[in-house]
Structure formats: structure tokens, C-alpha cells
Symmetry: C2
Amino acid sequence: MISNEKPLRALLGERGIKPTYQRLAILAEVLDRRSHPAIKDLHFGLKTKVPTLSKTTLYSTLELFARHGLVRTLRIDPVEARYDGWTAPHHHFHCERCGAILDLNLACPTGRRGCIDGHEIREVHGYFRGVCRSCLAGAASSASPKRGAARAALVKHPSRRYQHA
Amino acid sequence: MISNEKPLRALLGERGIKPTYQRLAILAEVLDRRSHPAIKDLHFGLKTKVPTLSKTTLYSTLELFARHGLVRTLRIDPVEARYDGWTAPHHHFHCERCGAILDLNLACPTGRRGCIDGHEIREVHGYFRGVCRSCLAGAASSASPKRGAARAALVKHPSRRYQHA
DNA sequence: TTTTCATTTGAAATCATTTCAATTTGGATT
DNA sequence: AATCCAAATTGAAATGATTTCAAATGAAAA
């Protein structure tokens, strides 16, 4: 019952990852989302399709995927890891008001690899922080996120932490 | 008993921050370190000078400093926040072996401010991850850090998490 | 001195992440 | 189909950074 199952199986197969039901579902979910979901968002989103799915499996599976370049782990949110199914080089913006993480179109050496100062570069992240367009437009009100440098409120499709009750 | 106290007082004074003994000590410590210490490192490093210093004070004080541009909060280490007393725009490299965070000399728009795609940019971070020069040189052995994507061992001046017992 | 207000403190709570042992699964073999 | 085995999954417990909170302290003003 996983939509688009064929190409997903292929994606895993190419990397020698056994295509279990959970893995296919997780991969489908993370590739389908543009909002850079956190573990708990994926857990919530998958609970209908895979009711028994544990967070432990989510953690280990996403680490597996990241290791094989299927997803990127974003550490821009101080509270929790966010996952990105779009692996082409691009930058990210984190709104400190609503917590949304947005893709940025910006020429930059995110694709840069090789060595710098003798260090072997394996990942490059351009992290921009500030207040997003919607929040600037006065979009929403206040209700402070509990942790991190972020302040005020919600809007959009952010990590659940930033949403109203 | 805080070395270099005068200029530190000035730094705080300019920003209207009351120069308490704790704040002066914390500021001195964070400015003096090149290793991007975590809270626990600062706590450890200050315990002689300020034996009663609580982590709560460290957290709140560093947040205060960050808000006033005296330090930068780095989120490149998945486990804990690291603090940087060097506020000029520059990039960072995180070694996934030993956990060290190193400054990179690299022309890049870390200084970029203003708006992108309508979002107001307040901070820019260039995060590079990989294996540092020392670790590549076969520097140290193995003893896995407990969390994060990082694997193997220690070396250098990393967050205590990555050090041998 | 007394009042007042900000700062500091330590203990407890929160919560993402990791660890771990037990269970389940699915493929291979009989 | 039944059995076996290694890998995958699970849930519960542990870990540890960070936050919350109320009480204690300190320092300046009245």
C-alpha cells in the first residue's frame, strides 16, 4: 500500500538496502514532504500507514538513509534534527519565529567537496536564520516555542513544537 | 581577579549589560578559547575561578551575550551548543571523528545580511562537516562518541564528550 | 537600615536521542 | 509447509542537554 513503490524499491536496491515495509514507508514519507519534518512529524504522519512504527526505527532508518545519501540531516533547528529528502545542494533558512525551515535559492558552494585547509569535506550546509516572509508580514501572533534561540509563534508547516495547541 | 578586566567591562558597558563577577568571568573564558567550548567545558574551565557558578547561569548568560552579538552560538555539533567568542564572519568545520570544531578561512557570504526571498536574514552560518586534517593523518585511535552522526575517536581540544577517559 | 529589583542558584522537569534486550520478520534451507 | 537464522523492528529504560521555577543572594536606591 505504498504509493509509488517501484521507484522507491529501486532507490533502496541501488544502495543495497533491503526494502522492508517500514523503510519504504519512511522513504515515501520523507521524500513527499517539503517541510523538513522532524522525527516526531514523520512518526505522526506515518501512524496510519504503519501503526506499530517505533521512533527507534525512525532514528535508525533515517541515519541509514543519510549515510547512503538518500536524505540530508539538518541541524539548523536547535531543538531537533530535521530531515530533507531533496538532496541536491541547496541552502536552508530557519525562521526563529515560527520554526519553519525553508529552502533557499542561492548560488553557493553547497556542492563543494574535496579538501579545505587539509580537512576532508563530506557535507556542506549553508544555514541562514532570521524571520521569514510570512512572519514579517505579521502573519501570526505569539506563543513561544519552548526551547532554542527562537521566540514567538506559529504559522505554516513547522515542527509541531511551534504550533498552536 | 579577572584578567583583562577593563576591556571586558567596557564590552559589557557598551551594551548596557551589568558587569557582574560571573558575567565578566564567563566573557573572559569564552573570549579566551579558540576551541568553541560547550556549556560543560565552560563550566569546567570556570570552576576554580567561580566555584558556585551554575549551568543555569551559563545558559542564560550566553544567551544574553549572543543576543548582544558578543558571542555566536554554533549548532554544528548535533549534541550540544558550542560558543564562539570570535564574532567576525567566518565558517566552521566539524570533525565527525574527534568532534573538534575548527575555523575555516574561506571567502563566503557569511557576512551577508538583509533579505533573501523576502526573509529577513539575521545570522548566516557556513557549516562544513567531515574528517579533519589530524584525524586524516591517522592521529588517534578509536573510542566512539556516544551520540550524533559522528563515529570514532578523540584528539585535540574537542568537547569533552569526544575525549578519552 | 530597609526596600526593591535583577541576578544567581540548584533542583526538578522536559524532551530529543541513544541503548538494549526481546520480539518479529522474511528469506533461505530443509 | 516447517525450520532456522540473521537482520530488522520494537518498546522500555537510560542518557544528557536544555529549560523551568521558586528560593536565595547581591547590589543599588531610598
